[in-house]
């Protein structure tokens, strides 16, 4: 049988999916054990016990200075920034993308502008944002919004122009105005794509968040990682990275689940 036709069974699929995860853990444990055997106070690849201690210290014991659970307060700070940035980006992108996709005049006016703006590397704008908006929350939220919005706009505009022309004609024969077409024909059909596209933008959004927090902040997951870097605290950095990954995975799943539940007609299509 050809390899392209060989499909694993359900249980084999599950087992295969676990293999790379297990492999990474095993390789790490071996490396860590080897280094610790040479030098019991090695900081580069700490053992599981060190992780457990660090997690306990960060997540379950109040910080001596602030009295807060650091992991919890960092998570809240980061997710607030991420949520605010993504919410602003989504709102702007949905409105602009739909208008851009629907109206030829707006497309002529803004199409190339948005295309060029989306090529600006957002991180290069970070100094400008810090200068203009100060070192507080606003600059970090703005960076996420600026980084994600142009790509969302373009993707949504593409989706709108991809809608079959027949549908727009049909809507007009049902006496729909531009506004009604936007609300009843275009908007419902771009929402699933918005969720898909938002999902793909989660990665960049986290990147911008952590970059902004690394440079100037007093809380947040990215801030903590870059703070403890000075002490080579791999025992804290690794769990934090794992935690950020877990948060991103959960957000991914939530978006998938929302798309599946809210748009039953779009199941099985890419958006």
């Amino acid at each position: 049988m050809r390899w392209i036709n060989a499909t694993p069974t359900r249980s084999a699929r599950l087992a295969l999916a676990l293999v790379p995860f297990v492999l990474v853990l095993v390789v790490y444990a071996m490396g860590s054990a080897a280094r610790l055997a040479d030098n019991p106070s090695d900081k580069l690849l700490p053992g599981l016990a060190a992780f457990a201690q660090a997690i306990e210290r960060m997540a379950f014991m109040p910080d001596q200075r602030t009295g807060e659970l650091l992991l919890v307060s960092d998570t809240i700070a980061s997710l607030t920034r991420l949520g605010a940035g993504l919410a602003i980006a989504t709102a702007i992108a949905l409105a602009t993308g739909m208008v851009l996709g629907m109206f030829p005049y707006v497309r002529s006016l803004l199409g190339s502008f948005v295309a060029v703006i989306s090529m600006v590397p957002p991180l290069a704008l970070l100094p400008i944002l810090f200068i203009l908006m100060g070192l507080g929350e606003a600059a970090k939220i703005a960076l996420i919004a600026i980084g994600v919005t142009p790509i969302l706009i373009r993707d949504l505009a593409f989706k709108v122009t991809d809608l079959p022309h027949e549908q727009l004609v049909k809507a007009q024969t049902l006496s729909a105005s531009s506004w009604q077409i936007g609300m009843r024909v275009v908007l419902p059909q771009v929402l699933p794509r918005l969720l898909t596209s938002l999902k793909l933008q989660l990665g960049p959004a986290w990147l911008f968040l952590i970059a902004a927090e690394a440079i100037s902040s007093d809380s947040g997951l990215g801030y903590r990682i870059f703070l403890v870097r000075r002490y080579l605290s791999m025992d804290i950095i690794f769990p934090y990275v794992a935690w950020i990954t877990l948060l991103a995975v959960i957000m991914n799943l939530l978006l998938d689940w929302l798309r599946w539940g809210a748009f039953p007609w779009a199941r099985g299509s890419a958006g």
């Binding site: 079959p164 022309h165 027949e166 549908q167 004609v169 049909k170 809507a171 007009q172 024969t173 049902l174 006496s175 729909a176 105005s177 506004w179 009604q180 609300m183 009843r184 024909v185 419902p188 059909q189 748009f263 039953p264 007609w265 779009a266």
Partner: protein, 275 residues
Amino acid sequence: MSEIVISDVWKEYDEQIVLEQISLTIAPRAFVALVGPSGCGKSTFLRMLLGDERPTRGTITLDGHPLPSEPGPDRGVVFQKYSVFPHLTVLGNVLLGLELQGSSVRICLRGEARRRAIDTAREMIAEVGLAGSETKYPAQLSGGMQQRLALAQALVMRPKVLLLDEPFGALDPGIRADIHVLMRRLWHETALTVVMVTHDMREAFTLANRVIAFERPRDRPEERERYGARLSQDISIWPARLAGEPDPYSPDRDGPILSEAFSRDDLALETVPGD
């Protein structure tokens, strides 16, 4: 009511002339089939009636008024594909026009008005034989059912003119025969002028009461760009087939066709031994 007058219409795209010298009067309640080879501009012509394309020269009037330059509720349409909205249920699709008509800002109906609209929509759905499927999405319907839905969605607006762009071309023969019966009944029972583009000559001659053929009089490769298609045939079905009147002469095309199909255009079939 709903007389369409097309006078000396030309359609050109840049250098390419697609249609030329099209003059035609379509009587109220006619059922006109437009036939012709691929690429002869019959769909372009339909889109001009729809308002989706504008004639380069010439005028089209509906009831004596120039046709608006964009589609509107007086002209319903069913395309071969993408005629229904995938994000709305069967009921939602038929309801949409009722919810939007008469206002340019309202996006849904509430209360009593909504209940009345739902009743109207359900009647229309039952009319096209989709009763019981109200909560399904188009993706869950077969091709024939989707086209029935598209018809219901268009007809619930009570358009003066129904434009059909190869609406049944993608359907299986059996399904197509069923929907032909429906289409003919709708034409008889509704105050409609129908203009249908089709590839299928049998469909044209069994549904329509007037068949119009488009053809390029000059079709050599070097002539194609500068000469468009014209009307080459204009055939009224005889005995006259009139909307709303029974038709005792014309045999039902959806009946048995086997004997008719043999010997007509396939000489090989006539020589099959024992047949």
